[in-house]
Amino acid sequence: MDYSFQPLAFALFVVITAITLFISVLAARRIRTASHYYVAGGGVKWFVNGIAFAGDYLSAASFLGIAGLIAFFGFDGFMYSIGFLAGWIVALLLIAESFRRIGRFTLADALVHRFKSKRVRLAAAVSTLTVSIFYLIPQMVGAGSIIQPLIGLPYEVGVVVIGAIVILIVATAGMVSTTYVQFIKGFLLLFAAFGLTIGVLIVSGYGPVDFVSNIISNPEIVTPKGAVVSGEVFMSPGLKFKNPLDFASLALALFLGTAALPHILIRYYTVPSPSDARKSTVIAIGAIGAFYILTLFLGLGALYFRTFDPANENLSAPLLAQFIGGEAFFALISSIAFATILGTVAGLLMAAAGAIAHDIYTEYLGKNKRGTNTLRISKVTAVGVGVIAIVLGVLSKGQNVAFLVGLAFAIAASANLPAIICVLFWSKTSERAILGGIATGLISSIALILVSPTLMGTSALFALNNPGIVSIPLGFAVTIVVSLLDGKKGQQAK
């Protein structure tokens, strides 16, 4: 599809984005500087945090990626919505409160509280960094995608320009108050999805169930890629995942990945008590769940009105907005997508910067006991990690952002979750087991992605696109077996 510069849409985009950022800053300032009658006070901290969780979590993948996947592959795309939410049940019931009780800065802090081991710290930091980078790539792909129809710039230029702006905002000023950016963004995203859904239903003239039912009953659907299938086939599993194990692998990675994402985990430290951590998670589940139900209508709406770009799945939602509400609505949705990317990138860069500045620089290398240097190192880290993500984002042209995030989930679930679960709940866990588990999960998941069909096409050595179903059990197995072996050795030594 050819895109040309749309001056009105672009001007609106800039204005709306500026207003959004300004409101975020204002909200953060208010809490400090406004007098008592403006401020809601202490009672809502878990509410703010809960919506901020949603803001952190609902990245470009959820908004741009899932809508695209549903428009292109029907049911298989919706599986992402189901899995992305299901992961929060693990976070709520197993991780949230326990995790809040221990640790104080990063994932590594939580893991070393048992072992006081520098090597565990280093492993956790490396894992945090890797997952953050893999999660950043799709955000950059999303950034490049939205700029295309807006300014008519080529994708690569879009990634570099928008990526650089986002990193600049985060690294210079944003570190002071990202929580409120996430909070505002979480609301905006819900608002956007709700508005688009209403728009789809009004323009199509159907009720919500009738709309979906109409698509299922359609005997001939021409998919964006040009294939002709019946509505029944489109809304059943199998269009994207030809291999059933790929479907299962994705489902497992999404379910177990959420609770192991470093940028989500560090947010648990922002609330004062474990019960606040739990309440925040409940708010997040409500907001995120509502959003994912709406994604079905965004995706199917893009298919129904045929507002998609066959070359770029990620544009389905913005193009749908353009069709329904014209340039103004298109600009609004694009700036919300931008705010979404900005917010998620902020959270990810903070997690990565924490790993380098706190875990590696301050704790592992034992340098500097004063905060100033840590802050400088974290800003440098943020820029460095951001640049890596931009380069990889340019290379990932044409990939669906939700698919890419699915890979980050698989890595997080393989490398981090076995360590977190075992440290929290199993007293026999040994230091070597944690090290081995993190290394195994990290290396196996990345190696399998490198030899997957995504990167090697038909000559792939590994048949599945998502490595989760192999690498997650492997991570758990190594952690458990090494712990048991170490336990036996310990008994013999006695």
């Binding site: 500087t33 007098s35 901290k45 100033t372």
Partner: protein
């Protein structure tokens, strides 16, 4: 005004400007005779650790001093009557509210005067207080020499970082209920996934105008929300009963 009735409110967060203000306020109360009211406001601000670090650096709180202890010691040395107030809420709002409630004659506070973008992001507490209160405000801005001398003098008041004690997790009724709910949900999710992967025909069955696959997916989404709300209700009730937050 009669000597001895003068009341000064001193908000402190342990930052260097606040410590400078403390010194000034103690001297003032000593001269006028009266009482020093020391206020600390706890901010209910959900912040990530790096955000906190960034903010502390800008506001000159990089070394965390215990503002209350510092004021106590200083007041003790100078024989000044002191009263402590600890509030929770928005900083500026609580300062104004406390000043009005306690009917003080003056507020003495430090200004970190954060500059540039950080100042824009954080706002100026002293500015906000001056704007919104009818009470006189004295703002202390320490210069480079003051900062160095305060750092030297306040060394004894650095708050030690406390290593968190490793707690026991995994016992108690709440955890068991959580675990049971988790397994119930995991089972449902697994069943759905296995059907989606290996028995697509079942998910294609038409029902209520749509198909089983969509109904199942929606059910999983709604039951996640339901489980979250139920679990939270149960856990909050347990906490209320046992009195532990």
């Amino acid at each position: 005004m009669a000597k001895g009735a003068y009341r000064i409110l001193l908000p402190t967060d342990g930052s260097i400007p606040a410590l400078a203000a403390t010194k000034h306020a103690v001297e003032l109360v000593k001269k006028m005779g009266g009482r020093l009211i020391v206020l600390t406001v706890k901010e209910p601000k959900p912040m990530m650790p790096l955000e906190r670090l960034a903010e502390d650096t800008v506001l000159m709180r990089a070394e965390r001093f215990d503002g209350i202890e510092y004021a106590k010691r200083l007041a003790d040395q100078e024989n000044v009557a002191i009263e402590l107030q600890i509030r929770e809420g928005s900083v500026a709002g609580e300062i104004i509210k406390t000043a009005e409630e306690l009917d003080v004659d003056m507020i003495v506070m430090g200004s970190s005067n954060p500059k540039g973008l950080s100042g824009f992001f954080l706002g100026h507490i002293a500015d906000a207080v001056i704007k919104a209160t009818p009470i006189s405000v004295t703002v202390i801005k320490p210069n480079q020499k003051d900062i160095l001398s305060i750092k030297e003098n306040a060394r004894a008041f650095i708050v030690p970082t406390v290593e968190p004690v490793a707690p026991r997790v995994g016992d108690g009724m709440k955890f068991k209920v959580g675990l049971a709910l988790f397994f119930a949900y995991a089972l449902g999710y697994m069943g759905y996934t296995v059907l989606g992967a290996f028995n697509k025909a079942i998910l294609s069955i038409r029902l209520m105008g749509i198909n089983l696959g969509l109904i199942g997916g929606m059910t999983l989404i709604f039951s996640a929300i339901l489980i979250a709300v139920m679990y939270n209700w149960y856990a909050s009730r347990l906490e209320k009963r046992s009195g532990i937050a």
